[in-house]
Symmetry: C2
Subunit: 108 residues, 2 copies
DNA sequence: GAAACCTATGTGCGTGGCGCACGTAGTGGC
DNA sequence: GCCACTACGTGCGCCACGCACATAGGTTTC
């Protein structure tokens, strides 16, 4: 399993919360981190995640009022949860190291 | 400030602990994470960090016995600590999100 | 009413970082 | 003698990313 790219992890984090379409993922990441993800970067990363079976496009849902039909929703797969979980553990370990060398306060 | 690449952060984490030479950084990262960093990747990243004033080569020290003279030691700079600290905070926030969506257990 | 912006998905192109291989060179093991 | 380890580095090809642009309907602004 090739390691998850930062943006791929960000996307999986978004999808782990709930099913989302591309544009909503961009907004979600911006809202929680302030980082602007380029559309080219996002849609291509979504493509890769789909091909790697870490995310999957969700079949078109009933069109509730106010639901833009252009939207393509995506869901995280079981393998996606596993990969994201492993990556989260890896990052948590890194944060622990950062605390050990006092780049972060021990209490947090 | 362009965002820190994953490998650049790993290197700064190593240097935040103590001054290290390139090969020792590779071993340090391998020891703590099991990840193998390619030499090409490492030395070029060290070059970038130096140019960005996040790390700096340390002037040749007294050659204590058993100290390979080929070694080029590097130290983290004040700006490097600042950048690494900011990145660590960013990652800690990501880990918190991962916990919120239950990719990681709340207790850890 | 037109210009600008937002929502929504996607492609085209250039730069650059990374993986892999290789180069150099001394030391130590078998 | 050959291989592995230490230590630093370059060469090359691929591909991910940033930026720009295409498309297109809806809304807001002047």
């Amino acid at each position: 399993m090739a390691t998850l790219r930062p943006i791929e992890f960000e996307i999986l984090l978004s999808l782990a919360g709930e099913e989302r379409h591309g544009y909503a993922i961009i907004q979600d990441i911006a809202a929680r981190s302030g980082e602007t993800v380029e559309t080219g970067t996002l849609y291509r990363a979504l493509q890769r995640l789909t091909e790697a079976d870490l995310a999957r496009p969700v079949a078109q849902r009933r069109t509730t009022p106010g639901d833009d039909e252009r939207r393509q929703y995506y869901a995280i797969t079981a393998a996606g949860r596993q990969a994201a979980s492993a990556e989260a553990r890896r990052l948590a370990a890194l944060v622990d190291v950062a605390r050990a060398v006092r780049l972060l306060p021990r209490t947090s």
